[in-house]
């Protein structure tokens, strides 16, 4: 069913804690779950909601992202009417082309926002992974007459070890946000924002122009935190699986979480498929000596060795006698004979020559960046 909302995805998040994973790509383009990129989840969520128009604000290092998305065909967003609009930065008299933050970025694509015929905007980031549709959230937003509705989920109450865009909501009994904390030292709330807001597009235009005229540029700091008491802001709770790619450890942990069937059933709920770029790879091929336990493997893999507790992306080759444990192995990686890998993250196109051993630790996996040969 078509939705009365359009999507606006901001992919300008930077995160040094992702180290080499986000060195040459935006967080949105970080590979996840064997055959996906981070962006596939939020984009599929929007499509599964019935959203027919999605603006995607690209900011830095977006080559990899553009390459992945193409014209949006795989998400069924390659349309004559509406579809996917990639909005890269551009320079005009009043726009430097360099965004200081999300407000600058949204302001530069207000032209797109004005053209959309839908009343509501679903404004999202791109580093949070979950599988839901926003229909009920929109319904709540309309019925509660909220100005802004923020999606949140319950997180561990303990003090986070690494913090990144950690927005906590303090709610009253009606689900109304009374206070917010941004990257708090000791969080007072377990309600963490999932980086999805729903609001009227006219309100978005107004808030962005107002903040911009005051020289402000960060949506969370300069709009949400400041307007908490003047606007009616509601929370909408999501109880399913949520993965935030805040750090390398999170990336590692959330990928391996897919080895639990409850997580897989939730994130890959067949009623709401997750779409991604198609590569037309052949099926994964298991050789005579293959020994695979508790692992997720994408197509195009050729397995002659041993794999345990690992995620293998498309087109990975594991040769005879190689042992791979507790690892994330990205696309088109080659692992030679008799290698031993434990707690490693191999980015795309890495080659490990015969007999090499690499061991990281729980809490500190070794990352090899794209194209490395060892």
């Amino acid at each position: 069913m078509e939705s009365n909302a359009f999507g606006l995805i901001y992919t300008g998040e930077t995160n040094p804690m992702l180290r080499d994973l986000a060195l040459s790509r935006s967080v949105a383009a970080v590979p996840f779950g064997g055959r996906y990129r981070c962006i596939d989840f939020i984009l599929s969520d929007l499509v599964n909601t019935g959203v027919t128009s999605v603006g995607l604000i690209a900011q830095k290092n977006y080559h990899s992202l553009m390459d992945h998305l193409g014209a949006g065909k795989e998400w069924d967003l390659h349309r004559k009417r509406e579809g996917l609009f990639v909005l890269p930065p551009f320079m005009t008299k009043e726009n430097t082309g360099l965004y200081r933050g999300s407000i600058d970025a949204i302001r530069s694509c207000l032209g797109y926002v004005r053209r959309c015929r839908q009343q509501y905007v679903i404004l999202t980031g791109s580093h949070t992974i979950f599988n839901m549709t926003f229909n009920d959230m929109i319904k709540q937003h309309v019925q509660s007459r909220a100005n802004i509705t923020i999606l949140y989920n319950e997180v561990d109450a303990s003090v986070p070890e690494e913090q990144n865009m950690d927005l906590r909501l303090i709610l009253d009994g009606n689900g109304c946000v009374t206070e917010m904390e941004y990257n708090p030292f000791t969080p007072r709330s377990t309600h963490r924002s999932c980086d999805v807001l729903i609001l009227d597009k006219l309100l978005l235009e107004y808030l962005v122009e107002e903040a911009y005229s005051h020289g402000e540029y960060d949506l969370v700091r300069d709009i949400l935190l400041k307007k908490c008491n003047t606007l009616k802001i509601m929370g909408y709770r999501y109880d399913g699986f949520v993965a935030r790619l805040d750090s390398v450890n999170d990336f590692f942990r959330h990928n391996l979480a897919l080895l639990q069937s409850e997580v897989r059933d939730d994130l890959f709920n067949p009623a709401h498929p997750i779409y991604t770029k198609i590569k037309d790879e052949v099926s994964a091929r298991y050789g005579e000596n293959a020994c695979v336990k508790n692992a997720m493997l994408a197509d195009g893999c050729v397995i002659e060795g041993t794999i345990e507790n690992s995620i293998l992306f498309r087109g990975v080759t594991i040769q005879k006698g190689a042992v791979v444990k507790n690892s994330i192995i990205m696309q088109a990686t080659k692992i030679g004979e008799n290698c031993h890998l434990d707690h490693v993250i191999l980015d795309k196109g890495v080659t490990i020559r015969d007999g090499r051993t690499l061991t990281g630790y729980d809490g500190f996996p070794i990352i090899l960046k794209k194209g490395t040969t060892i």
Partner: protein
């Protein structure tokens, strides 16, 4: 817009020798090789050979095939000029009719071909598994100044009597053609792939259509007529893997050929990809107690049991303690706990109940009608094999006379 060559794919075959596997779909829509359907092979060969205009002729159970092909985008055949078109038989004025033969199917669609005013027409069939560059064949056709070129494959002399055999001179020119000869003079078997000069083909098809005694078939009528008229008809020698998958046995064998070591047919070829419609499913999961060897497994599968020397299509579940050996399991099938599947083809969305044995040895007194299956056991699409059922090898599990989809007591 003029095209140099247009391909016409004969996909009307009922595939009756595939029995229950084709009860709801035409033969070209039958799954093959883990991710594909038979028709993906000729379609991908066309695209990889830079042929961008393909007519697919259907008449038997076309729904599965129509919806599978769609706009052709999965084969990159959604083109501004050309693309892929499904061409069913149609009625004209008073005398619409079914396709009476392979040549008649093309003749009835001559207007479709004429739109592109091609110099050549490539005729393909939808029941063969092979990778072939039709461009090479076209170059051969042009070099030889041929009116018709037939791709031929050397087969073992002792099997030649099962094929249409081309007898040629030293220059590969065909001197005579014999359908399934008792005493074959050559081992050059027709692969069912033809290139014709379109103007000459139209003329011969018109003449053939006017002949009420003709079976309107390329092999029986058109090719012999061309040879009789002393037209230059050449045999293009092909070497490589080619298999007619028209029977249960050969369909099973062809699947086994891609998992042999080394594989007889290499599918993992970046220069010659086989394209297909993608099921949109996550990477497959292999459980803690699973064992998978010498097999192909693809997206959406969940394997907790033992899989050896088998091909699993997408979205197949193999539950704990289940065993799948030497088998082909079509999309969406579920092999329940402790079930055993040996040397079988399990149809789409079939369910093998807990502890059931499919393809077990013949027990004393077992009566099995295996005329179509030989030693292969087949479970039809959407059939549920009951818990603890025993299906001796060669059994065909299909719906009962009342349409019930449960099999076994």
């Amino acid at each position: 817009m003029k095209k140099r060559i247009v391909a016409m794919l004969l996909a009307g075959g009922q595939g009756s020798r595939l029995g229950v596997l084709t009860s709801s779909m035409a033969k070209p829509a039958v799954p093959f090789g883990g991710k594909y359907r038979i028709i993906d092979f000729p379609l991908s060969n066309c695209v990889n050979s830079d042929i961008d205009t393909v007519g697919v002729l259907t008449q038997y159970r076309p729904l599965a095939l129509n919806s599978y092909i769609g706009t052709g985008q999965h084969w990159d055949l959604d083109r501004v000029h050309g693309g892929v078109f499904v061409l069913p038989p149609y009625v004209t004025g008073v005398d619409g009719r079914w396709y009476t033969g392979t040549a008649n199917a093309i003749y009835q669609n001559r207007e479709f071909v004429d739109q592109y005013d091609p110099d050549y027409v490539l005729i393909l069939s939808g029941d063969h598994i092979y990778k072939m560059d039709y461009g090479e064949m076209l170059r051969f056709h042009i070099e030889k100044n041929a009116v018709a070129t037939i791709a031929v494959l050397p087969v073992p002399m002792e099997e030649a009597h099962r094929f249409g055999i081309m007898n040629t001179d030293n220059d590969d020119r065909i001197t005579s053609f014999e359908e399934k000869p008792k005493q074959p003079k050559s081992n050059k078997a027709s692969m069912g792939i033809y290139i014709f000069n379109w103007p000459e083909l139209k003329e011969y098809m018109g003449r053939d259509d006017a002949n009420p005694d003709s079976s309107n078939d390329f092999g029986h009528d058109i090719i012999p007529a061309l040879i009789d008229d002393n037209q230059p008809v050449y045999a293009y020698p092909f070497s490589g893997y080619w298999k007619d998958v028209g029977t249960i046995q050969s369909l099973w064998e062809a699947n086994m050929d891609i998992i042999s070591t080394p594989p007889k047919l290499i599918l993992n070829d970046p220069l010659w990809r086989i394209y297909s419609r993608n099921p949109i499913m996550p990477a497959h999961y292999v459980g803690n107690d699973a064992s998978i060897t010498q097999s192909l497994v693809t997206e959406g599968c969940r394997v907790e049991g033992k899989v050896h020397h088998s091909v699993l299509f997408y979205n197949v579940s193999v539950e704990p303690d289940a065993e799948v050996f030497d088998s082909v399991v079509f999309p969406g099938a579920v092999i329940r706990k402790g079930a055993k599947v040996y040397q079988s083809i399990v149809g789409e969305n079939a369910q093998i109940g807990e502890g059931a044995i499919v393809g077990g040895a013949l027990r004393h007194g077992d009566q099995v009608d295996n005329a179509l299956t030989g030693s292969i056991t087949v479970v039809g699409n959407d059939i549920s094999v009951q818990t603890e059922a025993y299906l001796p090898q060669g059994t065909v599990a299909t719906e009962d006379e009342n349409g019930g989809r449960c099999y076994g007591k």
